[in-house]
Symmetry: C2
Subunit: 237 residues, 2 copies
Amino acid sequence: MTPLQIKALTFDVFGTVVDWRRSIIHEGSRLNREKALTINWSEFADAWRARYQPSLSQVRNGDRPWANLDQLHRESLATLTHQFGLDCFDQSELDRLNRVWHRLEPWPDTVPGLLRLKRKFILATLSNGNVALLVNMARHAGLPWDAILGAETARCYKPLTQSYLVTAQLLGLAPGECMMVAAHNYDLEAARDCGFQTAFVYRPTEYGPGQTKDLEPTCDWHVVADDLIDLAVKLGC
Amino acid sequence: MTPLQIKALTFDVFGTVVDWRRSIIHEGSRLNREKALTINWSEFADAWRARYQPSLSQVRNGDRPWANLDQLHRESLATLTHQFGLDCFDQSELDRLNRVWHRLEPWPDTVPGLLRLKRKFILATLSNGNVALLVNMARHAGLPWDAILGAETARCYKPLTQSYLVTAQLLGLAPGECMMVAAHNYDLEAARDCGFQTAFVYRPTEYGPGQTKDLEPTCDWHVVADDLIDLAVKLGC
């Protein structure tokens, strides 16, 4: 079957578009200097992110009502404060730290790659991040999205089917007219199962120097790209 | 009470940001030339738009399940084809005409005004238009939205309360941190009742030379502006 013409690219954001780990370490290092602390922010970032999928699972499984990612991040942060020596942070400082996810930095290729891709395709987020987080991040990092969509607008976290299908529907497109762009094989598997086309982007240092997963594409995705500029080249932009 | 600091401007779109009537007449005139027709597109545009509020009311009142604005526009169009002499249009041509709402033109001040406002504020749609319509319009007209929100993401048409409250919530803001920008007093009244700040923009020719409503602000809105550039000036951008 000939693939449909791609009209929109839908992006995973954390890891694929922005370098969450380095951004948290960077902001944490500044806090260490300002407050004369010796927190290990690499370990902290990894521990915070390690609570991401378990916290989403509770919502996905219906063990709790809908909660957006800002809320889930804040709850995870609360469980880590004592362990990592953040007891000296008051609640408003913890709230501010929680919003580091709104201030994540893009990978070097991200903005030029997106600007090229935008000439030809609708660019939408399809992220588990909530709308406010993604809007603030886009303004901070200069990400030229046409639409901020994903889990919150679908009321359903990836990789559940509805998160992909509702996003395509909101764009007024058939799933096959959308290409999911992600650095994570599980995300592309779920998108493919919904009928999306798929593009794998290498982000071999997302989890730091010791990353063990998603180092390679695990299926024959429609496109495999070194980064978002390479994706633009491969999609003829 | 001191007003909260404004963080986001939420915009009505049809009439406030784009000139739907002139755009439909313009596209219709081209169709007249191409197909040697003599359709009165001014009357057609007014008749099409006259079916807008009644069609929304059916959804608002729960007389029918959710339907997005593309669907409602398409149904209204079907009721007008015979009356206006569009019988020579086949279904795909009518589908294409229905998408004229995706190709509306901005007022002359719109794009420069929005670009100035964007320096200081989050810019979001709070429109009864569906996401696909607004995304395509933004790409067509160069509208630099940070977020495409409104009726479809709230599953509720203006002026019902939830359309405003859900939009503020998705932006992660209190209603009072949002300013509704509209050329229509009824929209500002509903937004104000939800706690939004309000800006009235004069669009005295939205409904053509014989416009009778919304020629003046009917309340003491927080700001009254001649156009979006004037709004930028008045908001200190």
